[in-house]
Each structure stands twice: as C-alpha cells, then as structure tokens.
Symmetry: C2
Subunit: 333 residues, 2 copies
C-alpha cells in the first residue's frame, strides 16, 4: 500500500514563464512577501499567542515544533517532483555504463523521452528507475551525486536551478518561526537523503531536522573503512498516514504547527492540530498559473481535495499564492 | 538476524551495595567527577582542538554531533536492561486482565519468577513478552505507562529509581559538550519510545535527539481523533551494525564523537572515528564491582570484547570506572 502510494506520487503526471518577482522588504515586517490579509494575520496571531509569557496559549520553546512539507510547500513540485526529474536524468547519465538499457523497459522509454510508455509501465517501472538511480552506492556517494546534479539541473519550464525555485514567503516564515524559538522540521514524502545535502544551505534546516522516505542501508567494511551501502529496498514511506508515523518516529514530539499543500499532508495536519492547546495548520493553495502553477482537486501531483474540504471545520489557514504572496521566489541576488 | 540480536540483548543474563558517592565539585572544572588522568585529558584535548578557531582540527558548531549509547554508558544496565525489568513488571501488573497467562508460557514463568524457564523459552518467548507489554496502545498511552512505572520501580540491588542510576561523570560530559556547541544524541539499542518520555529531564537530551529501536505504529482516527497505535511488529533494531544505520537515518550526519561501553557500540565507534578529521571514541569499562558492577568479555549483558580489542589501534579512550571516576552516581539532593 505504502509502496504503491510512493510510486503513484512519483508517477503522477508528466505535463511554462516565470516572472521573478521582487520580494518587498520592510525593516519591521518579518514577513514582507506576505500581503496583509487573513493568512498573514493568522500566522502572526498564532506566533504571538504561543510565545507571549503569561498567555493562556503560551508554549515553552522546547515544544515549539513546526513541520513543513517540502514539494509544493517549500519548493515547486510541478510538472513533476524534482526527485523524479533526478531519477530520469540519472538514467540518461548512467546509460553508457548500461548498454542493455537501450532495449530494456522502463529504461528504453526514459532514454527515448517516451513518457507515455513510461507512464504505462506503472508502479513496477518507476520502482525500477528509482532503485537503479538511488541504490547501489554508499550514502556519501549518493549525497555527492545529488549535490552535483543540483548544480546543473534546470526546471523544464522555469529554466532555473531547482534550489532557486523555493518560495520566498515560506523562507520568511521559516525564519520568523525560528526567531521565535521554534525548531523547524521538513516532513516530506520525498527521499530523506535526496533532501539532506542541501536543506541547510537552502532553507536553514539542518539534516537532523529532515524527515522523509527512506530506503534500507547496510553497514559494511570496505577495505577496512566503514561505509553505509544503499540497498534497493524501500524502508519507509513518509506520506499521508505515514507523516504522523514519521514525525513520531524521527522527532518524537507532536508539532504545534504544520504546513502543507496537498492531501499528502492531511493526516499531518489532523494529527498536529487535534492535540490540546493552541495549534496551527496551514495549506498553500496553488492558484497562480502566471507566476507559478494553478492546480488543486484534479491534479495528479499535489492533489488538494480532501484537505481543502477539511480546512474550514479544522480551522486551517488556506493561503492563496495569487492573493497572499507579493513575491513567489527569492529576488535574484 | 537483527530480531535475534535484539532478543539476545534483552534475554541476556539475569544476575546482580551501592554507595552513593559525592561528586566532587570545582568551580573551574567542567568535569569534577573525572579524576585527572589520560581519559580526562583526552576528552578535554579533543574538545579544545575542535572548538578553537584557527585550529587545524576546528569543526563548525553545526557538525559537532556527539552520540551516546544509553544502557551501560549513561545508566546502569546490570543485572538486566531496565526495559526488560519494565516488561516483566508490566506482565505482573497486567496479569489480572489476562487470566490465561497463569497457564501460558512465557507469561506463567514471569508470574512465578521462574527465570530459568523464561530463559529456556528463548527468543520467541521474549518477543511475546515485549509485544504484550509494548504494543496495543497509543503512543501517548505508552509514554504515560513508562512515566508512571519509572516513578515507583526500583533497581533490584541498588534499591534506587532507575533514573537516579545514571552516571554523574557522563552527565558532566554531556553538559560540557553542549556548553562547547555540541548537539548530544542518544543512540541506543533500547526502544526509542521507552526513552523519550524522560531523557530530557534526566540527561538534558530532548526526544528529537534520541535514536533507538522502534516498533511499527499506525495512524488511526479513534472517535474522530487521530492517534498512533503501537503494533506488535519490530520496525528497526538500533544495535551493532544497526547503530550507524540508525544514525544515518535519524540524524543524517556523521558524528565526530561517540561514546559506548560494549560490542553493541563497536560499529558506531568505527563509523564515527574513521571519518576524516579529528574524531573521538570512548568506551566506559565497568570494572567497579563495589560502586557499580564489574564485567566485560564474558558478560551476557553489555559484553565488551571485540571493541576492547579494537580500541588501542583505533585510538579510542578506555575509561576505567574505578580509576577515572571519583563519583559514579549523582549526589543525593
């Protein structure tokens, strides 16, 4: 079930112009890229309530845990997850060492940019691609591969490095929470070792605060030197009902605030905001086809349907990218 | 294999006058319970080297990760792991709700204090005991059970609450490292949810910095409220070769210092100290039968054999509890 969910997530649709908008800045406003409105007010009210000594909603710093989904919440997830782009491009890069791939599916389809055949291969094919590109090397080697790839990879429509396609308002939110004593975590369906090499420099979130899906690794002495080999076996899928499980397993505390953008975040939002005390849930709604993308209930990627329906009764803040954000991406430096 | 290792660990021997020794204190010495000598010097030299700006061994604060084993390194592990004492006492506490246990092994053996029969039941019996006492409730319920149990449980020989049978010199070491910008983690073969309820108050290590063995949990809506149910299935065994795997999975950085006391810590020590740059490995050797326990190569619990042999060539510091510690436990307050 979880394996299927993971694969469906990667499989989802294979479907262009970005205007880099300058983020406004104001010395006194910690959230300058957020327009005045209900969403911004809700954020500031929550943070003020839980950090004001003597407030009935006060939360000690140690318990100020905030969890953020990554794909679609902190960075662009369309037209397909960056990790899938990585897998496809890695297949091409590795093809010279695998002459058999030119006649073997699903590799042949990737090499021929035949996305239709690739999609038809379904779950089994996707798992093969992921395992061929994510396993069979040490953890250090994989981190280096990811780091190198990100240096040159570009988003197909936005023509930018993926690590620049991050949401400026969310960067401000992360920094605002940290400045108020929160510990910020990423809780993503993506692979934890695909994220950890860059989350600290890009988001200010250190590796030990990244929760994600994992494949199995194995300790091995290689020429007397200990290494961890990445095995082609799924260990844990940190998506949907897996998110509360992953939070409990990796963090061991219930967050007091959770941020997501899709039904994959529904259970994390439920679990976070149903606990006693003042809690905060937020959903980023992608409704800005001009500056980014517009999609929700019918999208194969980042579908937002059940969580959107649940939001009003649960008291979750729904952010309109178009209305609430005066900048989407960081200003070019 | 891992399941077997986990069970052997819990199964290990059932054997066993504490003198509460006053910890010396000196305003200028961050490690007053450590006698002057090679071990103390090695610790201070390492910390000085990696924290001195301009030193060739300088390590930025973010990379100052230190990992500590728990059983036998931070608290007493003889005559058997505290978590096993918990399991056995929980069987007795739950027996009235399980009349069938009076005639069913391994429960009958526990209820009759028949440790010989219990040991003869081997792995299968132990797993049954662990699952009967650690699963079938929510994560919140389990945390409350552990917390309540620790309030009244007493060590069979030392007659103290388990959370007072912690090593004063190691508490000082944890605090000394944190004062020098280290992030201190526990990496234990014990159950992570057995430790997290108390590690912050007892060791100053917050739940999100505790790595350990896990059982599976499942997200569930119970009367509309989300809970995580603990399932009777082992998820991950954080012992021996599992320790580097657990560190990589939960922390995602390689430690620069590791502290252990048994062969269960061998691979963690290897993995930590084989990385490039200044690294530190330390083994606590239990050689103080009077104040605590004396055991090493032949012990069923906390066996120290291969790691002891490997220590000289690897440059690990071997601490003699008898010689290097002027206090073992915290002074009564």
């Amino acid at each position: 079930m979880r394996k299927a969910a993971f694969v469906m997530r990667l499989l989802a649709g294979f479907f262009g112009a970005l205007i880099l908008t300058s983020g406004a800045s104001a010395l006194d406003d910690p959230l300058p890229s957020w327009n005045a409105g209900a969403a911004k007010t809700a954020i500031v009210d929550f943070v003020t309530a839980v950090t004001t000594a003597g407030s009935p909603d006060f939360v000690p710093p140690a318990d100020r845990i905030a969890t953020f989904d990554n794909d679609g919440t902190l960075w662009v997830e369309q037209p397909f997850y960056t990790q899938l782009a990585f897998a496809l491009e890695r297949v091409k890069a590795l093809a010279p060492q695998h002459p058999e791939w030119s006649t073997t599916q699903p590799f042949k389809a990737v090499l021929e940019d035949d996305l239709k055949t690739l999609a038809a291969g379904g779950e089994k094919g996707l798992v093969e691609l992921v395992m061929a590109t994510h396993a069979g090397m040490t953890t250090d080697e994989f981190a280096a591969i990811v780091t190198d790839w990100l240096k040159t990879a570009r988003h197909p429509r936005l023509k930018q490095p993926y690590t620049k396609l991050i949401y400026q308002p969310m960067l401000e939110l992360l920094a605002y929470l940290r400045a108020n004593g929160f510990k910020t975590f990423i809780v993503s369906g993506g692979g934890v070792e695909f994220m950890r090499p860059w989350t600290e420099s890009v988001y200010g979130v250190p590796p030990e605060q990244v929760v994600g899906s994992t494949i199995k690794t194995e300790f091995e002495l290689r020429d007397g030197k200990p290494v961890l080999m990445r095995l082609p076996q799924i260990d844990f899928i940190d998506d949907k009902t897996g998110k509360p499980v992953g939070i409990n397993k990796f963090i061991g505390r219930q967050p007091i605030a959770a941020f997501g953008n899709s039904d994959g975040d529904l259970q994390m939002l439920q679990w976070t905001t149903s606990a006693p005390g003042r809690r905060f849930g937020l959903i980023v709604r992608h409704d800005d086809a001009e500056r980014e993308y517009a999609y929700d209930r019918d999208s194969h990627i980042g579908r937002l349907d059940k969580a959107l329906d649940a939001a009003p009764a649960a008291g979750w803040t729904v952010v309109s990218m178009k209305r609430d954000w005066n900048a989407v991406f960081p200003r070019e430096k």
